[in-house]
């Protein structure tokens, strides 16, 4: 059983929506093969994340969030404790949204004991495979933060939850 699972989610051909996948891909290269850590890219139906993370004690999701005027800024949410803010993750009419999946997981008893969501604010979600420069730069900060979390024994403090990193 992995003690930590890191999952990048998004859509690689929607510009900044690919940031979660890009960060996960870079992390996988940097961390190499480790028995206790699983790093995944996930572009499927989010409803099945529940099966993916089943049995894992800590999950870190990485996703883009809706533009709020500060592209590249990073927020960290303790999704196992609180619902994700709807201003960041709007419900999609085309598929099950991330916040909905997490709330469903809580009701069904499938939510990991520790479920953290890193949201990187995007600017451009049009069709394309290029990141906005500020979003691309934030990936370095985020990767550094996640590596620190792992080195600190997978601990995230309350202060880290309320702090923006960029």
């Amino acid at each position: 059983m992995n003690s930590i699972m890191i999952i990048g989610i998004g859509q690689i051909y929607r510009s900044d929506d690919g940031i979660g996948l890009i960060v996960a891909e870079r992390l996988r290269s940097l961390l190499g093969h480790r028995e206790d850590i699983c790093v995944l890219n996930y572009q499927g139906d989010l409803i099945h994340l529940m099966e993916l993370w089943s049995g894992t004690s800590m999950v870190i999701l990485i996703d883009s969030i809706q533009p709020q005027g500060r592209p590249g800024s990073i927020a960290l949410f303790a999704a196992h404790e609180r619902s994700l803010p709807t201003i960041c993750w709007q419900t999609s009419t085309h598929s099950t949204g991330l916040s909905e999946v997490i709330e469903l997981a809580k009701v069904l008893g499938n939510c990991p004991p520790a479920l953290y969501v890193f949201g990187i604010e995007g600017k451009n979600f049009q069709i394309g495979d290029t990141l906005t420069s500020s979003v691309a730069k934030s990936s370095d900060v985020l990767i550094s933060r996640i590596r620190q979390i792992i080195e600190n024994g997978n601990r995230i403090t309350h202060e880290q939850l309320t702090t923006t990193f960029s």
Binding site: G44, D45, E51, H94, L104
Partner: protein, 462 residues
């Protein structure tokens, strides 16, 4: 209802329909007991796929058209390869036909279960969404999600990935799975079949509003199998045509309030034959005899007849179709043998002269028609794609009109029968009507993204 309120025009609107795929809006105008207007506004942005396909190679059509929908990509791939293979006069081997049917089973399972449990069931249970439903029936929701995953697994294995599969090509597949990849699915499929039988028994306990649709039902009909990939286009009122004759009998039109086209039967000698419905009710009514004996038995056990004209019972029909898909998947997986390495898949031989190909398969939501005009070297000159949700738009509005009329009459009668009791406020009555209408729209599991793939463009240069 008193005389004052009879004079007022009330407008019931739902700004954004929930628990449907894509963006739509509902508007109903009522004056007294008269329904002045019913409109299903589709405002999903148009997506121009038919224009995108022009000048592309015919080999690209399956992958391009699969992007029209994230829930039913296989349907688009199947209709497009069929059309192209007919244009090229290509014969398809039984091995490829089997595997394509298995892939389609996966999509039917995944799409139907998603709709039944996440979008439709909350209406019957009087809850807002699947999260509320999970608090009441957690195990049922878990079972349905596991069932859906079974369909996704088939799509992932045979299609190359679950969303917008990439393994389908004209003539067959890029890669055939091995037996060792398919056999492990048998356990899940067996579990899924038993689970679906139990779930059907639960769905059958729901309360179904009484409503009997009087429209033409259109679906593929095949001499031997429950229709997915092949068949003639038939109806319960005598229509019986080959796929290539579709456009002689059906037409599309743009209406101002919708970015999706409306499809109707061309009025010929009988001007009343215009709106029609496609989808599970049509398939079931026209093809009950093609279900397996086991599935027929389950259908009758849960109170369905050999035909069905109540769209609120579509949730049961979808369940029956899931069961049929699971039955067929078990048979196909069990008998599957991977073709040898030198297995001949027909190479594409481009026609020297222009040609036309027509394809029609049964998407989970109903008949999906494609037509391609192909030029030299396999370039697509023109594409026509008519999805099931477009075809059902007229009948959805008709259902809404009839349900609203019945509702108004019923409420008026109730009000007259209880003069001593405080009359239920118009606001509450309208809220009840709004819920009923949204429910009625969800009977059709509309896929609005599919319906808005098209828009005519006219450029005027000044």
């Amino acid at each position: 209802m008193n005389q004052e309120s009879q004079k007022k025009t009330r407008i019931i609107h739902v700004d954004t329909l929930t628990r449907v795929e894509g963006e739509g809006r509902l508007l109903i105008k009522i004056k007294g007991l008269d329904v002045e207007e019913v409109k299903l506004n589709i405002f999903e942005p148009p997506r121009f796929f038919e224009a995108l396909l022009r000048n592309r190679s015919l080999e690209e059509a399956p992958d391009i058209t699969s992007r029209i929908c994230g829930i039913c990509p296989i349907a688009y791939q199947m209709s497009s390869v069929q059309a192209m293979e007919r244009a090229l006069q290509m014969q398809i081997s039984p091995e490829v036909k089997d595997l394509r049917r298995l892939l389609y089973c996966g999509e039917w399972i995944e799409s139907h279960v998603l709709h039944m449990i996440m979008l439709h069931a909350p209406d019957f249970l009087g809850v807002k969404d699947i999260i509320q439903m999970s608090k009441l029936y957690p195990q049922k929701v878990k079972d349905c999600l596991r069932l859906k995953k079974t369909g996704n697994a088939l799509m992932g294995l045979l299609g190359g990935r679950e969303i917008h599969p990439i393994n389908v090509k004209i003539g067959g597949f890029y890669k055939f799975p091995s037996e060792s990849e398919l056999i492990p699915l048998l356990q899940d499929l067996l579990w899924a079949r038993e689970a679906m039988v139990e779930l059907l028994q639960w769905f059958a306990t729901f309360r179904f509003p009484e409503y009997h649709q009087k429209c033409e039902l259109v679906a593929l009909v095949h001499p031997k199998e429950y229709p997915m990939n092949e068949g003639r286009i038939k109806s319960n009122r005598g229509l019986d045509i080959a796929v290539q004759d579709y456009e002689q009998y059906f037409q599309e039109e743009q209406r101002p309030h919708s970015t999706a086209l409306y499809s109707t039967l061309r009025a010929k000698e009988n001007a009343n034959r215009t709106s029609y419905a496609v989808g599970p009710l049509a398939r079931y009514t026209l093809n009950f005899d093609k279900l397996s004996d086991f599935v027929k038995e389950q259908a009758l056990k849960i109170g369905l007849g050999q035909t069905c004209d109540n769209p609120f019972k579509s949730i049961l029909i979808r369940g029956i179709e899931v069961l049929q898909s699971l039955e067929e998947a078990l048979v196909i997986v069990d008998r599957y043998r991977r073709p040898p390495l030198n297995f001949h898949q027909n190479p594409i031989q481009y026609q020297l002269s222009p040609t036309i190909g027509h394809g029609a398969t049964e998407a989970p939501r109903g008949l999906l028609y494609h037509r391609y005009n192909i030029g030299e070297k396999g370039k697509i000159l023109e594409a026509k794609i008519i999805p099931p949700t477009s075809q059902n738009q007229s009948i959805i509005e008709e259902d809404l009109l009839e349900l609203t009329k019945s509702h108004l009459l019923k409420k008026n009668q109730e009000n007259w029968e209880r003069p001593q009791v405080e009359i239920e406020s118009l606001q509450n009555q309208d809220e009840e009507l709004r819920r009923l209408c949204e429910w009625a729209i969800r009977n059709y599991d509309p896929c609005i993204s599919c319906a808005t793939h098209f828009l005519n463009i006219r450029v005027e240069r000044l």
